[in-house]
């Protein structure tokens, strides 16, 4: 799908070459920074925007050009967009009434849905009499009661405070399991996406950077953007050297230090410049030089942050490169090394990935 907007004489392309196949019953997230095209993509699925190129298929049927009110998808808006002049129950019944469902059935389905979101007793209230979290659940009920082919959620937790957001994440996942409807979830919060999703499409500048399960995306980022956007990642720049006996590639990261990479990206060969990523919690820190077929880098501790359950270290490995290390505080020994001490960093080759872009 492609979507361009014309603003004055300029044409702005919001989404380009996005090709997604979302499976039935899946919790699918579109994750990316603001302006990456995730909301536009969702609005094309909903029917509020028409793609400039490409097609939207729902359940195999081409719905490109079908107006929003004839599409079998429902949306939960970031601002909830509850109708302020109607009661909570009337809000939830709105979609069913449009489809001419008979009164008795509307009443029982609305009641059932309000129970599902734990607002059974608030049906007669106005939306403005409810708290933000409750309004959020009404918006969810209003969309879900129609049993749509897919439910679209546009940053639905964005307006809630942290604690409520966390409990709503669990709640959303429970509701999704219970109703078995496909959820398409738009968010810029990587924690949210990782917690709830079956699969995630990481978007940047109108395109999909990587598509995969949360574990795949976290453990094996395909691009530097993904590595940087999802969680904390160390990025080292180096030159590909030779191959070891074990078949891994040596990457020179400056000052004669060598890291190992299990694989090279497509098209890269010896002598190429690559970026190595490694997650802070995958790096071991020790005073003595470690043994075995691991990446081994000497460095100097520049900062230590004690967090109770873990300690964070900043280690300078020379040639202007720094590595962050998260070490769980399992033994009561406290710090492995003080600031200014020389240490060794090590990680197994399959924990770091060489990327070209």
């Amino acid at each position: 799908m492609t979507k361009s907007f014309r603003s004055g004489s300029e044409t702005v392309t919001a989404v380009t070459g996005v090709d997604l196949a979302i499976a039935e019953g899946e919790f699918f997230s579109l994750l990316g920074p603001s302006g990456c095209g995730k909301t536009t993509t969702m609005r094309m699925i909903a029917g509020f925007e028409e793609p400039t190129g490409g097609v939207v298929r729902l359940d195999g049927r081409d719905v490109t050009g079908v107006p929003a009110h004839h599409r079998d998808v429902n949306m939960v808006f970031q601002s909830y967009a509850l109708f302020p002049h109607m009661s909570v129950a009337d809000n939830v019944a709105f979609g069913l009434r449009r489809r001419g469902v008979d009164k008795a059935q509307i009443r029982s389905r609305v009641a059932e849905m309000l129970d599902l979101v734990e607002l059974g007793h608030r049906g007669k209230h106005r939306p403005s009499q409810l708290s933000g979290g409750q309004q959020q659940r009404v918006a969810l009920a209003r969309a879900l009661v129609n049993q749509p082919g897919a439910l679209l959620l546009d940053e639905p937790l964005g307006a809630l405070d942290l604690k409520l957001r966390q409990s709503m994440q669990v709640e959303l996942k429970r509701i999704q399991r219970e109703v078995g409807i496909t959820f398409v979830y738009v968010t810029h919060d990587q924690g949210e996406a990782l917690t709830m999703s079956d699969r995630i499409a990481v978007m940047n500048r109108g395109g999909v950077e990587q598509l995969g399960t949360p574990a795949e995306i976290y453990e094996h980022p395909a691009t530097r953007f993904v590595a940087d956007f999802i969680g904390t990642s160390n990025l080292l720049t180096g030159t590909v050297g030779g191959r070891t006996d074990a078949g891994t590639w040596r990457v020179e990261v400056g000052d004669g230090a060598t890291a190992l990479a299990a694989e090279l990206p497509d098209g890269a060969e010896a002598g190429a410049e690559v970026h190595l990523t490694v997650r802070p919690e995958k790096v071991r820190i020790s005073v003595d030089e470690p043994e075995g077929a691991v990446s081994r880098l000497p460095g100097t501790v520049t900062e230590t942050v004690y967090l109770g359950s873990a300690t964070h270290y900043q280690v300078d490995i020379g040639s202007d490169q720094r590595i962050t290390v998260y070490q769980q505080n399992t033994s009561g020994s406290g710090l492995v090394a003080e600031r200014g001490e020389r240490v060794w960093l090590s990680w197994t080759p399959d924990h770091s990935y060489a990327l070209t872009d």
């Binding site: 509020f48 009110h69 808006f77 967009a81 109708f83 709105f94 449009r98």
Partner: protein, 287 residues
């Protein structure tokens, strides 16, 4: 206002001499400022309400001669005899029916106009804004004269319906501006949500857009009613031989205005106030 009144009692009253000579200027200044605010408020309210009070009071006056301008004594007579002048009754009926028609027509047209101006960008939008503004700001005498020559040129006999058309013409802008202000603050996601839930464009308008705009439509409509019912200048040009309430009074000034005019004015005022209060309560309840 109320905070200003409270402050001096706290700072100056509780501890006599407490603030002392050093801090003495502060409460004094605060007190003086509060007083000016009150005086000003009362002055404005008096300025607004005194003429109306006189109108109401003189509807109970028992004048000696033809002129109802000096207070003579209290009576309910004019309320019992409110419909004593058949011409006046007809004029009042004309005024009210013209105002009601103006309210409905300019309410409908102005709502659609305000919606278009607040929501969409289209060719001629700026021009429409300009025309609306000029309809409001143009001197009534000029508008009245221009309307009359237009009707004459088009060979339309002036009368009841030319008056309605003219009133709609100068009222529609007020409704449009009131509605536009409301449209701008309306969350467009609200209408998208309705469409998303299966409501077509018309159903969305009927069930979501219009109810949300209703307080503004109502205010605009009441404004149109009020502007229409007491319009004199434009009406005098375009009404032909139809007489409205303001035209009748103007005609009666030469022979003396009967107290019935004050009675009808008072009743009209009461109806207007009631409608306005109902509108305020309604929009509060909806929120």
């Amino acid at each position: 206002m109320s905070t200003g009144v409270d402050t001096p009692t706290v700072s100056g009253g509780a501890v006599p001499g407490g603030p002392g000579a050093a801090g003495g200027t502060r409460p004094a200044r605060a007190r003086r400022r509060t007083d000016w605010g009150r005086v000003y408020t009362i002055a404005v309210l008096a300025w607004l309400f005194l003429p109306i009070l006189f109108m109401v009071a003189f509807s109970f006056n028992d004048p000696a001669g033809r002129h109802n301008i000096t207070w003579q004594g209290f009576t309910f007579r004019w309320y019992q005899d409110a419909l004593a002048y058949p011409d006046l009754n007809q004029a009042m009926f004309n005024s009210v029916s013209i105002a009601l028609l103006t309210m409905v027509i300019s309410g409908a047209l102005g709502t659609l106009l305000g919606l278009a101006l607040g929501r969409y960008t289209f060719r001629g939008k700026q021009l429409t804004n300009l025309v609306m503004f000029s309809a409001i700001s143009a001197p009534e005498v000029v508008v009245g004269a221009a309307l009359l020559s237009t009707f004459l040129m088009m060979n339309v006999t002036t009368g009841y319906w030319t008056t309605v058309v003219s009133h709609v013409m100068f009222c529609v802008s007020f409704v449009a501006i009131t509605v536009r202000a409301r449209v701008i603050t309306l969350d467009p996601r609200m209408e998208e949500a309705a469409r998303d839930l299966g409501a077509g464009p018309f159903t969305t308008f009927r069930l979501v857009t219009l109810p949300l705009l209703f307080p503004a439509v109502m205010s605009g409509g009441l404004l149109a009613f009020a502007l229409s019912i007491d319009d004199y200048i434009i009406t005098s040009f375009v009404s032909g031989d139809v007489t409205t309430f303001p035209l009748w009074i103007w005609g009666a000034t030469r022979v003396g205005i009967p107290p019935q005019v004050n009675v009808m004015g008072t009743l009209l005022f009461l109806v207007g106030v009631t409608l306005a209060v109902v509108n305020v309560i309604n929009s509060r309840r909806k929120r």
